[in-house]
């Protein structure tokens, strides 16, 4: 149960005391509640579920896990250029 989609925060503002933001999902922009990621800023990526950002995506971790197989010595650099 987890329709959570990653998007980029393009605006942060306050509405009725709640931290809100505009999140860009690859061309679709939606208003999202950011109360649960208080340190999020413009440029950060977040996973949005039912109109709420539930996590701030960690790019470094993302990179590390993408190259997991390579790091573990299982793969040559097939993962270098992706088209």
């Amino acid at each position: 149960m987890c329709l959570g989609i990653p998007g980029k925060i393009v605006e942060v503002f306050e509405e009725n005391g709640l931290k809100m933001g505009k999140v860009d999902f690859g061309g679709v922009v939606k208003t999202v509640c950011l109360e649960y990621i208080p340190d999020a800023q413009v440029g950060d990526y977040t996973v949005v579920h039912v109109g709420f950002g539930i996590s701030k995506l960690n790019e470094q971790e993302a990179q590390e896990m993408l190259y997991y197989l390579e790091k573990m010595g299982f793969l040559k650099s097939e993962l270098g250029d992706q088209e």
Binding site: M1, P6, G26, C33, V50, G51, F52, L69, Q82
Partner: protein
């Protein structure tokens, strides 16, 4: 799309499939417990790419599917009441109750509205002070922060016409129930990435330890799932039983602290009945006493006790526990189809039966 496309890369997919084939020497049965993951697996045919020795089963990971029949019937009664605006996520509308579904209520003139976020329901309540606005607050822990915020806001704003019909479920007790069941054959679990984004995975560590089962917290794209399966099989082959985190870009061990804080300000843990499985202690959330004015079950208690009746043909209980696959069910695809569903897993877009039906296989 960033953070999505990279995880659908076919080269990576192939690499992981190869690796899994390489390291698998014994037969293993693994379970995933998230409708979103079920869908990805069936949609991309991931289970067919795995070695035959790996049997992947789908657990009760669809909150729509496990919402008790009594609550669905209650929702239908409330939605049919004049003066009520019933707000719900889209999925719940076609889940069959004893006699009909919310969609039918809508076609009969009930004011049933699909909302994207629980806060939208609060807005509707503010715009319609003369109506009673009831929000169908269902979900796993992933949705609990959003639902909690809606109730919290309603209290802050002093709303007198907003109510939540709560049916929240928690994953760890379900895992324990499955592990303790007499017919359990699950060797390891793929844990739901967004549930753990909110709650963290500390609660899973005692389970892995006590039952000696490895658990890997996993994301939702094809590469995530394959990487998660790879990590799980590797643990099994090496005789380990730890909790590992594949979905590191979103999940931290302690979860989302502000979200957890608000969840436990608004909700408390309660026993919960799961449709198709039965009562699981401490497996749900209910509204705390101080929020009882927003509890639709209490406020609409004069609704008659509805006699609930499941179809005798529907074996969703077995499907939800991973004991049977949808294709094992005699009614699958014949008497039970998305147009004419006998049980929730066929109608919910995340249900296993619906996934199997919609992405059905043909022997080519």
């Amino acid at each position: 799309m960033k953070f999505i496309d990279e995880y659908r890369d076919s080269k990576l997919v192939k690499a992981y499939v190869e690796k899994i084939h390489e390291i698998t020497t014994r037969e293993w049965t693994i379970m995933e417990i998230c409708g979103g993951q079920t869908h990805t697996i069936i949609k991309y045919g991931i289970d067919e790419m795995l070695p035959d020795k790996i049997n992947i089963v789908h657990g009760p990971g669809c909150p729509v599917c496990v919402t008790p029949l009594e609550i669905i019937d209650k929702a239908i009664e409330i939605a049919s009441t004049p003066g009520v605006i019933f707000c719900s996520f889209g999925d719940m509308l076609r889940v069959p109750g004893s006699k009909k579904d919310l969609f039918t209520v809508k076609s009969e003139g009930g004011d049933v509205r699909i909302v994207y976020s629980p806060l939208d329901a609060v807005k509707i309540a503010m715009k319609n002070p003369d109506k009673k606005v009831v929000f169908f607050a269902i979900g796993f822990e992933t949705t609990a922060p959003a639902n909690a915020m809606a109730v919290w806001r309603a209290k802050e704003l002093g709303l007198k016409n907003f109510f939540a019909l709560v049916s929240h479920v928690r994953v760890p007790p379900a895992i324990i129930t499955i592990l303790e069941s007499p017919w359990n054959m699950i060797n390891g679990f793929i844990a739901a990435g967004h549930v753990c984004t909110v709650m963290g995975y500390e609660e899973y560590e005692p389970i892995a330890e006590k039952y000696k089962v490895p658990i890997v917290v996993t994301g939702f794209e094809p590469v995530d799932i394959l990487q998660g399966i790879f990590m799980l099989i590797k643990q099994l082959e090496e005789g380990r039983h730890e909790v590992e985190n594949q979905y590191k870009r979103s999940v931290r061990r302690e979860g989302n602290i502000p979200a957890k804080q608000l969840i436990f300000k608004v909700f408390e843990i309660a026993d919960m009945k799961w449709r198709g499985i039965g009562l699981i202690p401490n497996s749900g959330f209910k509204l705390k006493e101080e929020f009882s004015e927003f509890d639709a079950e209490k406020v609409f208690s004069e609704i008659s006790t509805i006699k609930t009746e499941e179809s005798s043909l529907c074996i969703s209980g077995y499907v939800l526990q991973g004991v049977k696959k949808p294709s094992d069910c005699p009614a699958f695809g014949t008497l039970c189809t998305p147009l004419n569903p006998l049980g929730a897993p066929m109608v919910s877009s995340e249900g296993a039966c619906a996934a199997y039906y919609n992405y059905g296989r043909i022997k080519i």
